[in-house]
Symmetry: C2
Subunit: 335 residues, 2 copies
């Protein structure tokens, strides 16, 4: 792909100037008149030309760097993905730099532009939202891109993801089978594909059972602090209003939630059972060991890195999707 992309000569032809002028535009813009600068700039923009890296990179064609854009590298789920990507990349002689979008599409865009301008060998992205077009365009321009924790409904990007509907289903089935009848889904915004799928899975199970209800509560950030806040809110509800089971958006949220419930004198799991999502290393080591839907984090990270290495060595190959099954891990918080 990279070989067929726009060259400095295409820009020169398009702008009706010499290649040397285009070179000056990039290296010593002050040498050009304002008029000439804007003429070259227009062609650069229209053709989508990305200037080359410094010589060392150019001569060996590859930067030796993989970019990783995740939602939040402080979340142990993404930290685990990053560590796994680093291990596989390192074995292939590549370094990894990581940016956290914190769910901001702008920030993700900034990282992607940077990674592309610097001619990184490829990028792995856990997208900030469902808008994948900027990612697809970058792949079309020659930067290998692999999604992790997200699929591409158009099938234009390789991806590693989990069957989240099934994840929602097995969590709900476990709670309902244990006799719980008032379920609360404590998740992030439903607009996020992964969350919407889990909720669908929950609904499928609950809707088939008379006398069982499912409510939804939103949380701005799926972290410990927000989990604790939601736990205090649940503890403050009247007994007959209170859910007897919570399915939390991730393990951090669940651990915070359990912590606050216990601190407020609510028995976990007797009064409220709690199921998390991810199975981060701390889930098993929390004050109340956490029942959770396990995502095989390290395997997912490694699979994403391997897909990327394949795309780097064989540009333009057909996108592939690797879908992992979720797995329920039963511990004390919801036996």
């Amino acid at each position: 792909m990279r070989e067929s992309s726009v060259t400095i000569h295409d820009v020169a032809r398009h702008a009706g100037v010499s290649a040397a002028t285009v070179s000056n535009f990039f290296n010593w813009p002050d040498k050009l008149s304002e008029r000439m600068r804007s003429r070259v700039e227009t062609s650069v923009t229209e053709l989508g030309f990305v200037p080359n890296m410094p010589a060392r990179q150019l001569r060996r064609q590859r930067s030796g760097i993989v970019g990783l854009s995740v939602v939040n590298a402080s979340n142990p789920f993404f930290a685990g993905i990053a560590t796994a990507v680093e291990q596989v990349a390192e074995d292939a002689g590549l370094s990894v730099v990581v940016g956290s979008s914190h769910e901001s599409a702008d920030r993700q865009e900034k990282f992607l532009t940077l990674f592309e301008q610097l001619r990184f060998d490829g990028v792995v992205v856990a997208p900030s939202d469902d808008e994948l077009e900027p990612l697809r365009q970058r792949r079309d321009r020659g930067t290998p891109v692999v999604l992790v924790d997200h699929e591409d409904p158009d099938g234009r990007l390789s991806s590693v993801s989990l069957d989240h509907r099934e994840g929602g289903r097995i969590a709900a089935e476990h709670l309902v089978t244990a006799g719980r009848t008032r379920l609360l889904f404590a998740g992030g915004p439903e607009g996020v594909r992964q969350v919407a799928r889990r909720l669908e899975g929950c609904r499928e199970v609950v809707s088939g059972i008379a006398g069982t209800r499912l409510e939804v509560a939103r949380s701005a950030d799926l972290d410990l602090t927000d989990g604790e806040e939601m736990g205090r809110w649940i503890a403050g509800l009247d007994q007959d209003e209170r859910p007897d089971a919570v399915f939390a958006g991730n393990d951090l949220h669940a651990i915070g939630l359990v912590n606050a419930l216990v601190a407020q004198g609510v028995q976990v799991p007797d009064e409220v059972a709690v199921v998390g999502y991810d199975d981060i290393p701390f889930a098993a080591r929390a004050a109340v060991p956490l029942t959770t839907v396990r995502q095989p984090i390290a395997e997912m990270g490694r699979a994403a890195a391997r897909l990327l290495l394949d795309e780097i060595s064989e540009p333009g190959r057909e996108p592939r999707d690797v879908v992992f099954p979720p797995e329920l891990v039963v511990r004390a918080s919801a036996p």
Copy 2:
């Protein structure tokens, strides 16, 4: 600083070629003969010339990016540092990319070279080891560099650190005051300055008390898995050989250690008291809530980012050191 650094014209003069030839060297090396390439390359290396970023960066002088090199971004201590640096940088309109050295000086060097070549606005480094010369040289060449979790004994780099000797002292005093007489220091390699300081602090306390001993056990990685391994080893010792108190290198290690001790039927804290280091968010939420030496992680990250912003806006300013005091947080693992 940056204004006074080596220019492409210096390289041209040094190599006895035109500036255009140096430009070609960086942009179209194939245009030059092998002899000419090697001539320019020699001058570039001897003068320490770093080629410029693509035009957009060059024209606004700054890349808008801060580089962060930490030992391991998956460790909640460094993840907390990263989040705090991101927040301060974001408020100043800068993005942050993060690399994990995993204690490899080579990998750290790779990141630093990359950050410098890409003309990042500045870098924050939690060093992989005590060798700071490469960092000092980069600052001398005009890239603002701030240390975090480490000081510069030569005073040439700004730094944010903690008084680790005091940290070792307060942990040991707490254990000794509680009547513990057989202390085990479970740390990383003593060659690491931070660890050596904590051990010094411990020794100062223990050496003043007759009938109290201090032994040292090393751990390759200060993580949950290694902590669990050490916990199993301690549980397997004869009663009279076994320490009655452990001061662990960090909280991850301590949490793993407590977990394994409890799983093997050793009572924590009755038979073995355990003190961690860092006060990561999970310390308070572990199965046995952890007594630990608190590092003010978010404050340290923010302080490092602020020092860096100061150096960016006022290049060449005098290095400053911010030293935080440690604080003992007493919980169930060592009351």
